[in-house]
Subunit: 460 residues, 4 copies
């Protein structure tokens, strides 16, 4: 059996074994690159004509046919089965259309630099899509924060109630994470933005190609400076996969929190029915499947990164067939983060905070103990001593099942004589939160200012 | 939009958002479990009838319809699109066939224990297939070793020539690795061999199910002993993925060696044309794509393991939606190792050793230096001193571009007086190799004996 | 600069660069194998004497000195700095003690099979320690389950309340996981239980060694059957690391639950002060650091596994220096799981359930909805229809802020006419739980039986 | 037992269990941050004084004492054992020195933002060191390329000889890789360059801290904008670990090539004795341990990345104890890449190419077949047809054991009539290489130009 569109073989005396085609063929997944492949070929061919490497008329003929093929693929008129790879498919269709002239397209080119080109074009647009989706997600967070600017809730460390915070402040923590993610995809895009064609198999072409013309034609900022590196380099895919991994880590943290907040026990948020699913056996269940799925999908994105890092380890220069293994995990990562980003942005838009529950929660659990210590520090007590005294006051309050603000002034004075009536404004969450107007803090003023700034930046 | 075959929802007041169905639906990959799902349902239904939980006649009706559905799926008569999952699809088709009676199939069962059952049946047969493919591979190695029993080649450490070995001995090292892999899949199969049905959602069913009957019906050795664990446990998938990872590690080592041996520089083996591919630009190339691909695929198998380990980390009991992420990487791992095992076994059958090249190689590079040291040890020189003297002799020989056996006796005597004429039998690779007939060694006698033993074991 | 105890070099004309010693030396971590190394050397030497390869008297002298060295190391009398590796250190000390006779110890042996021996001895005992620690942990779970046999709590799926369960049943789910972990370490121990000495560098020794004697002397069940495999094989370390990874995955799930249960919101357990820590700034905090740390340490154990899998990928036979990288991650994994297992067992012993909280929790959240559906199924309603009706009843109850058992009979009858007075026993968690006495279920009878069985097995 | 320097505990009624201290204490590894911790404390304290939060005189006293402590630690006068962490140690020593005033240092600060500060300072300098070491490595490559500008060797794909290339061109491929690595560390440095102090535990401080002053004092460009994110963020460590992973991937590819080139079979390079090691049993061995070790260490660096990604997965905000697990793998990665970079740079400086071997190698194996096809394309043959014809010519030549340039003109003409006498300049490696002067190609002119450019850039 021979794969259709096999563009090598003059030196071979035996037919390829069927199982070899099965494991070797990449058409099942690299067909996804048909547009990049044809666009790249058109630019290459245009240049071949301009430089007189092939006659201009032939170049025009090839380009016209390539455009037709592109249209046919987009209209589902092409059957991919049985070809070895997308390059062979396109070249075969081309020769069917234009005859022997089509055999000139591959002049000065190898599949090694061709696939590097295709995957770089793909990476650039995938990174750009990630950026756009992250921007939409960032807008969702700002909108949700803005809408709930007055909601106070417990802030947690170690999943133990720690201090009162604004829900908006909590949400904007994710804004910061996603902003860093955005920057990583921008860097990834830049790393991919290098035009490799002209590197040929590994040593550069002997033809007088105009590499800068091709780069401009395809919207690349630079051309590669070393042909061996250009055909061996998959760093930009790893960069995407890593950026995606950190993004998923952030989404998994968000997912964990949404799951927690949706529990009967926390009960801080309600997610609308249209974003939940039920149980096949338990009729009462309303499950936060989406945050769970997103948290779970973190694994595959990490795994894809680890997989390609492993594949690339220890490969000698230049191209090795191992590198064909770059595409499937990459595509899987792209698809995974795109759906996760879209779903999350829409989910965030649909979240309702259960304010009463949150207010109750913030009033129980000694969340203003640190403020009390800060108060004592203002009374000239070293912080470490203040910390110790407040610890004792908490135990005292717990023993009588009260919160700190439920203690009487004289009771408090027993722990430190200088405590005065003004103490109570340090024990009320709604009051103490205002004291944290330090830049980056949860104080309402500073948080509102930040939201206004972000709305301006994001055109909200 | 509603997914077809959604088997929950009485409590929900809003329709599910389309994108939720897109991310949530598992039908695209869990359809692969149709046979396991239907087989499991048949056993469950049979038991429901036997125990009088549903009338026997209804059970018969359902079973008959399930068998029909199985046949229809196997004949490609069913379109899977639009369903949520394989369970919903089967139940919907069933109800279409038999009417309301079909709604009784899910009695005493949840999707949580149902999917656990399906995936355990699948794992058991996948592990068994792996074992069979490994056995075929082991046979290939024994055959190749047997065929080349008299080929001597350099053994390497640090990829530097070390000592003469039999090629057969080298091949049998892989036999040992694959034998250990086999055992891992046997253990994996045992770990999967536990019947979970009856665990229901998480707490066990209230119906008087006969779990042992279902287990026997489906060929399981045991039933699960804790319902919460039974629906939360994916260890057996991890076991498969880990076994696959070590297997791929072994295959990657083999791949590396086949690639090395196929180089112009080593030139120890020829692989027939039908197992190689060429270059789109370099007409002379004949590339060892298969070992490269196999080596490269190690990455995805590792990545899949890492992915599922990550997904399972930190999940509270019992079932969480994250666990839906178990299937795709698992299926990918199964498919990957199956093709790799099959390809490798066939490739091994087609390898020809270039004996002349190997003989030349073993005669150059001071491979018998250790034997010389052993010889000196026999002359009552402590091994460490012998080692040092031989090191000096090697330098002496290198300086005059000779091998050790090309030194004259008197030259050698200068390094140690007691060297006698019998030394030369210790410097000839073909001779010294015979001295390594210690169990596990490369001596021809011991290797032949081992091959005979393995041929008997494997019925070759 | 020369590393002390360098046991090679006769052929070298230049001194090693200092930085080479720094990266190359393994003494910093392989010193941990001193006991295994010396014990192995004693067995090897005893055999050399018995077989007459070295004179018996010399063997005795060496053995005596080795025992002295062992004692000196155990009494911290030896400084390890500056040596290349543990083998070189021991041999150097030996020669210092007994003179040139010490140079005979390495007869018929290479560092390649020596380190394989050392690490196998180490692995066997590490696996045995893991088994013992797991057993202690399993006992803790059984004791805690036994002590709290009457505590009912909500069982969760998707972290949403699902059905009432016995806390003991939940605990025993972990018992099952750890039992599987135990089995993995038993398998690992068996895989390590193969004696490699006699394989020499890679090809087997030319000396007439009695490998079986050495195996028996050191308590091994088998000898290795292929010398090249024996010096290249690190599967048994990977087996340990994988077993540890799944164990940590289980511990991380437990950790997550303990953290959740310790929150103010769940409040199901109290952990004694001596197993918690506080905050440097928030005086009221009592943090569940231990479960968090254990959950966090899952990462390093996974990472170590992935690291060694990566290191071993694509290595040609036989020994390569890359393999020196096996030890540090292995030791780190051993230390990590040992402390985690010990801490967890002790922590489990110190857990107190807040029964009131749990009872409250189980009575809120419609946890008996499934039982209601099962009840309706008993009234000849197909399960799928029953599920739908109960869904509607739950919504009805929610709208009036009641639980199912708070609905009146006539209200329920509107949903399905056949509902009778007996329905209330299906709506009371304490009652319905008794209906789940199916094997593996949460019914008190079956759980008690299981506990008695385990107490007998574990001698509790 | 109480850890020394425990800076919390007022609320606790029981002593911490010893094993808790063992697993909980981080002093063993975070002591490495002593300098960052003290420097940060000095800046914090200076600001406290300036803002009048504590009296200036007390601030001066504290700062003076902190400087003394720094000196004492650097002079090894401090014993770290028994403390919980570096923060507790420093605060304890401080209070011992200055009395109760020392207890004021922690005012407006938590260990959460303090450790974030310490590790950011550390990351910035580690990233800068990586950049410097990479620069040194890049210089080594340019020097080696420059020195060997006239060496021609086979370029490989699939480890099969492909086309003639300049060794310098091959070396500069690594230059490109390391330049990308450099950029990643620059990005990492920027991501770490955000000052978190003032975030306190999670919500921001109530004190009127001047965060920008502290930032300037410590050389940070920005302050963090969200306190919850600031104490929860470890992205910058992941960025470092990822940058290190790709770097190690590149080094592992180099390592693989150095190992191959050092084999007896390739024999392209000699590494000086001072960078190799020998065998304990085989006196003739000279092993390329360093490239092997570096290749092997790739595993641990990947594993560390995967470990921390796993640890961070699914953590709710803000600080969780899991995050203490960030440091050990990070430090291990830093140490690993620093030694690997240093060793590689020095090793590259010591490499000698065996020119004769390389020239021989390039003249065998039909490396100019592509050039022949390009020649035919110039004769107006479509490339695909030319490729086919050359494939047949290669087979013809192989059958008579000749290279292409050894065929006679008339023999060649039989394959294509238009082949003329000028063909021979296309078959000579030294000649054809000159035709690849396309930008990025291996042509000597373009490579020399690139080297001159790099020498100017790097001040060589």
């Amino acid at each position: 059996m021979t794969a259709k569109g096999k563009i090598w073989g003059g030196r071979f005396s035996e037919e390829i074994d069927a199982i070899v085609n099965k494991i070797n063929a990449s058409i099942d997944f690299d067909k996804r690159l048909y547009k990049e492949d044809i666009t790249g070929s058109i630019a290459h061919c245009k240049m071949l004509g301009l430089k007189g490497i092939i006659p201009n008329a032939e170049a025009d003929l090839i380009i016209k046919a390539l455009k037709e093929i592109l249209g046919e693929i987009e209209n589902n008129l092409i059957i991919f089965d049985g070809y070895e790879d997308i390059h062979g498919l396109v070249e075969t269709l081309l020769i069917e259309k234009v005859g022997p002239v089509g055999k000139k397209l591959h002049t000065g080119r190898s599949r090694n630099d061709q696939i590097a080109l295709d995957i770089r074009i793909f990476t650039k647009s995938a990174a750009q899509r990630a950026i756009d989706l992250i921007d939409e997600l960032r807008r969702s967070f700002v909108r949700l924060a803005d809408k709930n600017i007055d909601v106070v809730m417990p802030g947690y460390t170690h999943l133990q109630k720690a201090q009162p915070i604004l829900a908006a402040h909590h949400l904007l923590a994710y804004y910061e994470m996603f902003s860093r993610d955005r920057m990583r995809f921008v860097n990834c895009c830049n790393n991919a933005d290098v035009m490799p064609l002209g590197s040929a198999a590994l040593a550069g072409s002997t033809f007088n190609l105009d590499r800068n013309f091709v780069a401009e034609e395809l919207g690349f900022s630079e051309i590669s400076l070393n042909s061996m590196d250009a055909v061996s380099d998959r760093d930009f895919i790893l960069d995407y996969m890593y950026s995606a991994s950190v993004l998923m880590m952030h989404l998994s943290r968000l997912g964990e929190e949404l799951i927690l907040w949706s529990t009967n026990e926390f009960n801080y948020i309600s997610i609308s029915d249209k974003f939940c699913t039920g149980s096949s056996i338990m009729p009462q269940k309303k499950n936060p499947d989406l945050p769970e799925l997103i948290r779970g999908k973190t694994g595959r994105v990490y795994g894809n990164l680890m997989g390609l890092l492993t594949t690339m380890k220890g490969l000698p220069l230049a191209y090795n067939k191992d590198m064909q293994e770059d595409k499937e995990p990459f595509f899987d990562t792209v698809d995974t983060i795109e759906i996760c980003l879209e779903v999350t942005a829409r989910l965030i838009n649909e979240i309702n905070f259960n304010r009463d529950k949150m207010t109750d929660a913030v009033n129980k659990g000694y969340l203003t103990a640190t403020d009390l210590a800060d108060y004592l520090t203002g009374k000239n007590l070293p912080f470490r001593d203040a910390h110790k005294i407040v610890g004792e006051m908490v135990i005292y309050a717990m023993k009588t099942s009260r919160e700190l603000h439920e203690l009487k002034l004289e009771e408090m004075k027993k722990f430190y004589h200088d405590i005065e009536d003004d103490i109570f404004s340090w024990l009320d969450p709604a009051e103490t939160i205002k004291k944290r107007n330090i830049p980056g803090g949860t104080g309402p003023e500073i948080v509102k200012k930040r939201i206004e700034q972000l709305k301006a930046e994001l055109n909200l």
